[in-house]
Amino acid sequence: MKALDGTRVGAVIRKELTEFRRKRSIVVAMLVLPAIFLIEPILTVLLGPHASVGDQSYRIPILLLILIPVITPSTLAAYSVAGEREQGTLEPLLTTPIRTEEFIVAKAAAIMIPTLGLSYLVFGFFLALVRLFSDPVIAAGIFNEGPLLLALFLFTPLLAGWAIVVGMAMSVSAGEIRVAQQLGMVASFPPLGIVILMVLGVIQPTITAAIVFAVVLLVADLLALRLTSGLFDRERLVTGARAVRA
């Protein structure tokens, strides 16, 4: 694989971030779900009944927080290619020397930046509230869950990466943004299963398990990235017909 051109990748990232900032509907869509997902954990952990030692009910609200990096990028990922096509900017972009891998990586990176920023901000806010205001037993339970917290932080970029790449794959394949968003959302959930099993204690959340699953997710993300690049057929994107050579 040829090295990516930093100037071209940087140009796409800068353009994307500027467009996100100026598109109010996207900013709202990105903020609404994390805000909703934050309310339930806060209510449960801060206002719930007093916990006894060994109570692990606080793990359930954490699940909702893990959904944030999966759901937040879905709108942006669905928009990444289908949106360019709808607004008529895809063809001029594809006539430039940018390579498919550079385009995909740049788009994915541009979506990853706000997704990670928002996810970690929400996690940090939640943990700060727990530390300051929650029942000491629950606070101790959460902060003593080293592997679980590690998994939470480690899996966030990997889950987000998966959601972004499969969302982009749907954006490349689907004709409409809405269809791409719905398909991308469904396709982004399977890896979440591993994390859910870990949070629920079905898979013991040890550091080794967290690292093993992180590596598995990383490999899955890279494979999905390759697959999405493979799906990116300039001819089909421009004309709607697949390229056939004699």
């Binding site: 071209r8 940087g10 500027t18 006539t95 430039t96 300039r234 001819e235 004309t239 390229a243 056939v244």
Partner: protein, 322 residues
């Protein structure tokens, strides 16, 4: 008369297309198309809607793979592997400018510069905006610009990379006459700077005014040449004669003139088919005066590019109906 350079000394053409064909399943977009475009030439690519003009541009711009045939674009053979190199050497302005409407003119230009891998591009951006007289609108959001101004931004964007060939696909489609005129003067300026331009259009006045040579495409290439050459190929030389009153016996006046092959009455004028208009005009004048006619005018009958185009496209329609 200019002396042509020997074959070996002539620079390679900017664009060589050899028997290029593109099919989408059963449908043929264009078939067996061959032509060359010289460096610095403004080459018009004409044809009715659906003739395959845009598909040809997309194929030469490496967006679409040809089904058969070959081409060399800006010195690089047209293959999938050479796509990046070809796109580096050319610029394509599609029919719709495709600007990011939430970004300013300057932001759009910076983005385009980045895609061409241009570092420290500010001087180039300034020069490109200057070329289209948009320097004072650099901070405006593209969404707030008129269609004509957006088209000018798109031209500026296409100029950024200093392309060897500039493909302009219907650059004046949907523009009002004033905006279209601005685009025309831009193209004339680019021609003056020696940029090779491949202009697709179905506006024949535009092609006649701007292009050195034109090709007429209607799925297959119907004709290639200078507008005057095409006219000469398709239409015989003719003189149009107007007299104050109708001639009593036109046959007696015209048939005796050696250079006149035939005549017909058309829209108040006599149209004479002649072998050589320059030789025939004085002979015809003398014959008319000799016959006592009051001559209002004698002029060479002009056929426009539109006549050429309609003749060729009508031939296709008739051929399909047979």
């Amino acid at each position: 008369m200019p002396v042509e350079a020997p074959e070996a000394q002539r620079p390679a053409p900017a664009l060589v297309v050899d028997r290029l064909t593109k099919r989408f399943g059963e449908r043929t977009a264009f078939n067996d198309v061959s032509f060359e475009v010289a460096h610095g030439e403004v080459f018009g690519f004409l044809g009715p809607n659906g003739a395959g003009k845009t598909t040809t541009v997309r194929t030469l711009g490496t967006l679409i793979a040809p089904t058969t045939g070959s081409a060399t674009v800006a010195g690089v053979p047209l293959t999938a592997e050479n796509g990046v190199e070809i796109r580096r050497r050319i610029a394509i302005m599609p029919e719709a400018p495709g600007l990011y409407l939430r970004l300013t003119v300057l932001e759009n230009m910076r983005f385009a510069a980045g895609l061409y891998g241009l570092r420290h591009a500010e001087p180039r951006i300034e020069a490109a905006l200057d070329a289209v007289n948009l320097s004072d609108r650099a901070g405006d959001l593209c969404g707030g610009l008129s269609k004509g101004l957006r088209q000018r931004v798109a031209v500026a964007r296409a100029l950024l990379s200093d392309p060897r060939i500039l493909f302009l696909d219907e650059p004046t489609a949907g523009l009002d006459p004033v905006a279209a005129l601005e685009v025309h003067s831009l193209i004339s300026e680019l021609r003056g700077r020696g940029v090779t331009i491949f202009l697709t259009t179905h506006r024949l006045d535009e092609a006649e005014k701007l292009c050195d040579r034109v090709a007429i495409l209607n799925t297959t290439l119907r004709s290639v040449g200078r507008p005057a050459q095409l006219r000469a190929q398709l239409f015989q030389n003719a003189l149009a004669v107007r007299t104050r009153t109708a001639l009593t016996d036109p046959d007696a006046v015209f048939i005796g003139i050696a250079s006149v092959q035939s005549w017909r009455h058309e829209g108040g004028s006599y149209v004479l088919t002649v072998t050589d208009p320059e030789r025939a005009a004085p002979e015809v004048t003398r014959a008319l005066v000799g016959a006592g006619a009051d001559v209002l005018s004698i002029s060479e009958a002009q056929h426009s590019l539109e006549d050429v185009y309609l003749q060729l496209v009508d031939d296709d329609v008739e051929a399909r109906q047979r």
